[in-house]
């Protein structure tokens, strides 16, 4: 494929970007959940 240009790549681009954003959002959500849980258990302790 040295000369031809790959067309119709947008669907892949959109997929890649949305997966990235989704995964990072899920990770942030899990961090916040864990952080709340850790804070709660620390409060219970003291």
């Amino acid at each position: 494929m040295p000369d031809g240009v790959i067309g119709g790549g947008w669907s892949y681009v959109i997929a890649a970007y949305s997966v990235t954003v989704a995964v990072l959002a899920i990770y942030v959500w899990s961090l916040s959940r864990r952080s709340r849980r850790a804070e709660r258990s620390q409060r219970d302790e003291s």
Binding site: G9, V13, Y17, V28, R34, S35, E45
Partner: protein
């Protein structure tokens, strides 16, 4: 707390501008067309994941050297965020590969190495969950981190030799200046975000460790029953 918020804000801002430039301003690549825009998230993911692993390696060495638990908190933060970015890297790479090579997966040097790398560092996280107590947990994770980190270049070289018999890897064209800007913006954005998450994860680890700390007499009792 404040530094984390600052990092998140800076990171989100940079990444937003970078993504805008990457998607709508930068020209499509000569051969790959628009698909190449995946690069603006793909390459930063790779860079930052590698950076986080390197940091984790540094923290592991510091932990083994000093025995201070605070390095363990940072280490787990770096590895966890690194593994997340590494997983993203694999998905983005796979999509890109499908678009350009027509296959989801190719046993190419970088793909293979990043897959092995993800498994290795995910293994560290698995080992952590299984460790019998806190001190073992931090030392074991540090040991596994050091070994994994040293292993990555070995895997890379080996796969390169292994592949070299089949095909020479095509090198990307020199990057257009218009492409450099979004790449740079996104890289710094992701860097700040990743650092913020790493610190956040470290803070969680620290507070859950405090919560699990038990007063001395109780601990003595627990240890005795464990050794009996």
């Amino acid at each position: 707390m404040n530094i984390r918020k600052l990092l998140v804000l800076a990171g989100l801002g940079l990444a937003a501008v970078g993504t805008y430039f990457g998607l709508f301003v930068a020209p499509p690549e000569r051969h790959m067309g628009d698909v190449q825009r995946i690069m603006y998230v793909h390459v930063p993911s790779a860079w930052i994941a590698m950076l986080l692993y390197t940091l984790a390696f540094g923290f592991a060495i510091a932990l083994l050297w000093s025995g201070r638990q605070k390095w363990d908190d940072l280490m787990v933060g770096a590895i966890e965020v690194g593994v997340v970015l590494n997983a993203l890297l694999l998905v983005q790479g796979s999509l890109w590969g499908r678009a350009t090579w027509g296959v989801w997966w190719d046993w190419d040097v970088r793909l293979t190495t990043s897959l092995v790398m993800a498994i290795l560092f995910a293994g560290v996280l698995v080992l952590r969950r299984m460790a019998p107590n806190e001190e073992r947990r931090s030392q074991w994770s540090a040991v596994a981190t050091v070994v994994a980190f040293i292993d990555v270049p070995l895997v890379y070289f080996c796969v390169r030799w292994w592949r070299s018999l089949h095909q020479i890897q095509s090198s990307p064209d020199t990057v257009d200046p218009a492409m450099v800007l979004p790449l740079r913006l996104n890289s710094f954005g992701l860097l700040f975000l990743a650092l913020a998450w790493m610190l956040w994860r470290a803070a969680i680890e620290r507070s859950s460790r405090r919560a699990s700390e038990v007063p001395l007499p109780t601990r003595v009792a627990i240890e005795e029953s464990a050794h009996a």
